[in-house]
């Protein structure tokens, strides 16, 4: 039990949790903006109102003004969440607003399954110290050292992700039994879904019809789907399993997109799996690029570039990587201390040389996660 707790509460850098806040926040902003035409339009027909979850508290659908106020407030709160503004108080409000907004959107006769994980991840991020770095809240404060309070929320988010896949696998077994693995159910689903789109005047997958004739391929896909879904919890055990699972799950969603023209954006861009990885490296890379561009522009204008030791490092918060940390938590090329005679290279250059994981541009969190080997 102690061993399990120690693994669960292994320390992580604050930047990793902050990176999740920024990435998830940006996704939420993009999603809400992309859905604005729906909210501004007149597609919410009162007769179709089928409240789900928290929206069951409503007896009637919201009026247009209240609906727009809800989505507008949620969008504003999403921006505050992403920037890390008064996170302790505003983030829980944002989480509840996003829950209400997206539940309302799903309360019209069809529950989509593309936004569940986003809401669940935001609910977790809202009640943990996700703005201890790379945030407005953290400006002017000394950087927080890696700690256990930054690690377990990421593991919880990863556990939530794998649980949702497990649930999907269990649903297939409960509704279709092990016969689901034969591929017939998948074949029927692909055919019905594409025909439904065609009859509704919506684009269908261009590869679906020829694909339906290959029974053995469908069986392989069905078996693969069950392995990915039922085996999802194994991703929490070992970093290599986590990497393999994330690639397989991502491939599954790519297959769904190709064969059914159904996009699950949250996993497709890798956010569903980001808690398993050192996702802070993506933000650090973006910050480094932004700073280089700014320095370049200043040089062109004949101004001395800001940077050097003035802007402290803290890209992944790993003390053993020899970073310095400063009030703004931005990236800079401060060399890591090297032993005598060793080649010394800038810390940020080492980070930049890491391979990118699918979708998230990050590497596995193998130093302090339960998924480590």
């Amino acid at each position: 039990m102690t061993w399990l707790l120690d693994r669960w509460f292994a320390p992580a850098p604050p930047e990793r949790l902050a990176a999740m806040r920024i990435l998830v926040g940006l996704f939420a902003i993009g999603l809400l903006i992309s859905q604005l035409p729906l909210w501004l339009g007149h597609q919410f027909v009162h007769a179709d109102f089928r409240p789900l979850g928290v929206v069951r508290l409503l007896d009637h659908p919201l009026g247009r003004g209240a609906r727009l106020a809800l989505v507008g407030a949620t969008l504003g709160l999403a921006i505050a969440f992403t920037l890390g503004v008064v996170h302790r108080w505003l983030a829980p409000v944002f989480a509840l607003a996003l829950l209400a907004t997206l539940t309302y959107r799903n309360s019209w006769g069809m529950a989509f399954h593309t936004e569940n994980l986003l809401v669940l991840h935001v609910l977790v991020l809202a009640v943990v110290p996700a703005a201890a770095a790379w945030s407005v809240d953290a400006r002017g404060r000394p950087g927080a050292p890696p700690g256990e309070r930054f690690g377990w929320p990421l593991r919880l988010m990863a556990a939530v992700t794998v649980t949702t896949y497990l649930l999907a696998g269990v649903a297939k077994l409960r509704l279709g039994g092990w016969a689901w693995a034969h591929g017939d159910a998948l074949r029927e689903q692909i055919a019905v879904d594409n025909l439904r789109k065609h009859l509704m005047g919506s684009p269908m997958s261009p590869v679906a019809a020829p694909f339906l004739e290959y029974g053995w391929l469908l069986q392989a896909l069905a078996v693969g789907t069950l392995v990915v879904e039922l085996g999802a919890p194994l991703a929490l055990l070992h970093r290599r399993i986590a990497a393999a699972w994330a690639v397989a799950a991502w491939g599954f969603h790519l297959g769904v997109l190709a064969l059914m023209a159904i996009g699950f954006p949250y996993p497709l861009i890798g956010l569903a799996y980001a808690p398993l990885f050192k996702c802070e490296r993506l933000i650090a890379w973006a910050l480094r690029r932004g700073r280089r561009r700014r320095d370049h522009e200043q040089l062109v204008l004949g101004e001395p570039p800001a940077g050097g030791a003035e802007l402290a490092v803290g890209l992944d918060g790993q003390p053993d990587l020899g970073e310095a940390r400063g009030p703004r938590g931005l990236a800079a090329e401060v060399p890591a201390p090297a032993h005598e005679g060793e080649h010394q290279e800038p810390h940020v250059e080492r980070l930049g040389a890491q391979p990118l994981a699918p979708g998230v541009g990050a590497v596995l969190a193998d130093d302090d996660d339960p998924a480590r080997g």
């Binding site: 729906l38 027909v45 019209w108 943990v128 509704l175 159910a185 509704m200 005047g201 789907t225």
Partner: protein, 151 residues
């Protein structure tokens, strides 16, 4: 146990219990948001048979175009399907038909069409897609696309 750990344990247990809670519910009847049973793609559809109500625009020569969901009800296919189905179930197919016809009247890309039909189709999806074999259809409502200057 430190406060951090206590908070972490409580939040972990509560969150995972909530996310896993739908395991105790029927995969179809128990689906909700954001706590879901994730029943998508799980159900068998015997013979891939699809019964669906949809909307088509028909031209004078009999040419047809399936009207996209955004012009019927919602940009979301599944939500549009629900709207059409519920309209038909309420006996409002003619109302839906007229509403769609008014929308199409404002679209230049539908100038070659003069009628909107709400249709109930019964198709075998694999035969339809692979062999091009269409099933049966029944017209539930038909209405003209109003044109300026038309009688």
């Amino acid at each position: 146990m430190s406060t951090t750990r206590l908070y972490g344990v409580v939040l972990t247990v509560v969150t995972l219990a909530a996310v896993a809670w739908p395991l105790g519910r029927h995969p179809l009847a128990g689906d909700s948001f954001p706590l879901s049973t994730y029943p998508m793609f799980a159900q068998r559809r015997r013979d891939a048979r699809l019964y669906l109500e949809y909307v088509v625009a028909v031209g004078p020569g009999g040419g047809r175009r399936h009207v996209p969901p955004a012009l019927v009800a919602s940009p979301e296919v599944m939500q549009a399907i629900t709207t059409v189905h519920q309209a038909v179930a309420r006996g409002d197919a003619p109302v839906l038909c007229r509403r769609v016809a008014e929308r199409l009247a404002r679209r230049s890309s539908y100038r070659g069409f003069d009628t909107v039909q709400v249709v109930a189709g019964n198709h075998a999806a694999i035969a339809y897609l692979v062999d091009g074999v269409h099933g049966s259809e029944r017209i539930l409502a038909a209405c003209p696309i109003p044109r300026e200057g038309a009688p």
